[in-house]
Amino acid sequence: FPLATEKEKEDEQFAKKYLENFYDFKEEKNSLFKSKNLNHMAEKIREMQSFFGLEVTGELNHKTLDMMKKPRCGIPDIRS
């Protein structure tokens, strides 16, 4: 796969933080299987896209990032 650009890495970090804050995403830091985290994150992206009525793709596309960057309330949208 092409190396993720710096910008994409930043976006991914931002999205991870967002999903942790508002969608109860918990990254397994020492998981041996990177893909497991990716799947888990994709699942949380789908939850967030569904909440905001975006197309549910599980991918961190432009519209999803845009929505994540809008000023908002600090209370989670989904909580355990």
């Binding site: 905001f52 009525g53 000023p71 908002r72 309330c73 949208d77 909580r79």
Partner: protein, 404 residues
């Protein structure tokens, strides 16, 4: 809409709040007005009543802070997270925190966040609501700048909060517009304060335990303040209001918070400036102006703004003479005359009450003008005075307006 897990809610209808600090972005009065209006949104669709405290522990503590501010959810600088609030419970429960790194404003411009909108959202959380996925609902998590002048909760917001607290009680409705000015007419028997003669004294009711609201015809009933309001007359004592309308014979019983949730009980004085459709309430060394339900922006103000010396820390009573456009303020054994036209105290005041009002040789608890005559209340008596001749006409029981 959504609620928090286990749907925490306040197990009472009287909820208190306290503003712990202010943002330097706005006038304090504008912050207070935004917060009060935000509470009014929720009290208008539930039985909840909100009382502002000025010290001690309130249910909902409101504060501005940046970055780490003592809870687990640090703020993130400008943009991003604007504020957060905790669901009902004791301690931090109910508290609302606003990110001081944002630019707060009372306007709906694009270079700042409207405090009323964000506060109304956060107080939804303080009352137990979670986020709504309905675009346009107040509890939608993303900030949306919009016109706040006639802001209404969405049906989704109302449905959600009423799941927790139910609909409002049959709340009293203030007249929506100034009644046609009352021409001084002969009072009908129902309206005229009846002169108490011994045989008419109401039978002494000795309730088994003192009711929280004094009985209408309790011969010892006294009042804190009395005012007209759009043709009606409101009598205040503690947090209670007796409301007398020329259109209905019986007296309506309300509480101050059912009309003005953010005003604290225990007024010292009140009067109406009919031409401005404005009522002013006085408590200690501050005063508020209301028009109908809404508290006018920029209040409370210090009573010194009216021209009182700093030695005056509170007033006893006030009454506006609709004919001369003068307002009389009573403090101890003296009174002032304030010109509503020039908005200033008249020269030569204060004067002794006893010197100008024959027969009123004591302090005045409350004062009222009705149909051209003045009524000065002292303890459980009221003194009817012809203001032109300043002559005492008769003395009656304070509650003689309640058809006892």
């Amino acid at each position: 809409y959504s609620t928090f897990p286990q749907s925490p809610r306040w197990k009472k209808e009287e909820v208190t709040y306290r503003i712990l600090n202010y943002t330097p972005d706005m006038l304090q009065a504008d912050v207070e007005e935004a917060i009060a209006r935000a509470f009014q949104l929720w009290s208008s669709v539930t039985p909840l009543r909100f009382t502002r405290l000025y010290n001690g522990q309130a249910d909902i503590m409101i504060s501005f802070a940046a970055g780490f501010h003592g809870d687990f959810y640090s703020f993130d600088g400008p943009g991003g997270t604007l504020a957060h609030a905790y669901p009902p419970s004791n301690g931090i429960g109910g508290d609302a925190h606003f990110d001081e790194d944002e630019n707060w404003t009372k306007f709906t411009t694009y270079n700042g966040f409207n405090l009323f909108l964000v506060a109304a959202h956060e107080l939804g959380h303080s009352l137990g609501l979670g986020h709504s996925a309905v675009f346009g609902a107040l509890m939608y998590p993303i900030y949306m700048a919009r016109d706040t002048r006639d802001f209404r909760l969405s049906q989704d917001d109302i449905d959600g909060i009423q799941v927790l607290y139910g609909p409002p009680r049959e709340s009293p409705v203030l007249p929506t517009k100034a009644f046609p000015p009352q021409n001084p007419t002969e009072m009908t028997s129902a309206e005229a304060p009846t002169e108490m003669s011994p045989r008419e004294e109401p039978t002494e009711t000795t309730p088994s335990k003192t009711p929280t609201r004094p009985q209408d015809c309790d011969p010892h009933l006294t009042f804190d303040a009395i005012t007209t309001l759009r043709g009606e007359t409101l009598f205040f004592k503690g947090s209670y209001v007796w409301r007398k309308s020329p259109y209905f014979s019986d007296v309506e019983h309300d509480t101050i918070s059912s009309f003005w949730p953010s005003l604290t009980a225990g007024f010292d004085a009140a009067y109406e400036v009919d031409k401005k459709d404005q009522v002013l309430f006085f408590k200690d060394d501050q005063y508020w102006a209301v028009s109908g339900y809404s508290i006018e922006a920029g209040f409370p103000k210090p009573i010194q703004n009216l021209g009182f010396p700093t030695s005056v820390r509170k007033i006893d009573a006030a009454v506006h003479d609709q004919n001369t456009k003068k307002t009389y303020f009573f403090v101890g054994d003296k009174y002032w005359s304030f010109s509503e036209n020039t908005q200033s105290m008249e020269r030569g005041y204060p004067r002794k009450i006893a010197a100008d009002f024959q027969g009123i040789g004591h302090t005045v608890d409350a004062a009222l003008q009705k149909n051209g005559l003045f009524y000065f209340f002292h303890g459980s008596n009221q003194y009817e005075v012809d203001i032109k001749s300043k002559k005492l006409i008769r003395i009656m029981k304070s509650n003689s307006w309640f058809n006892c």
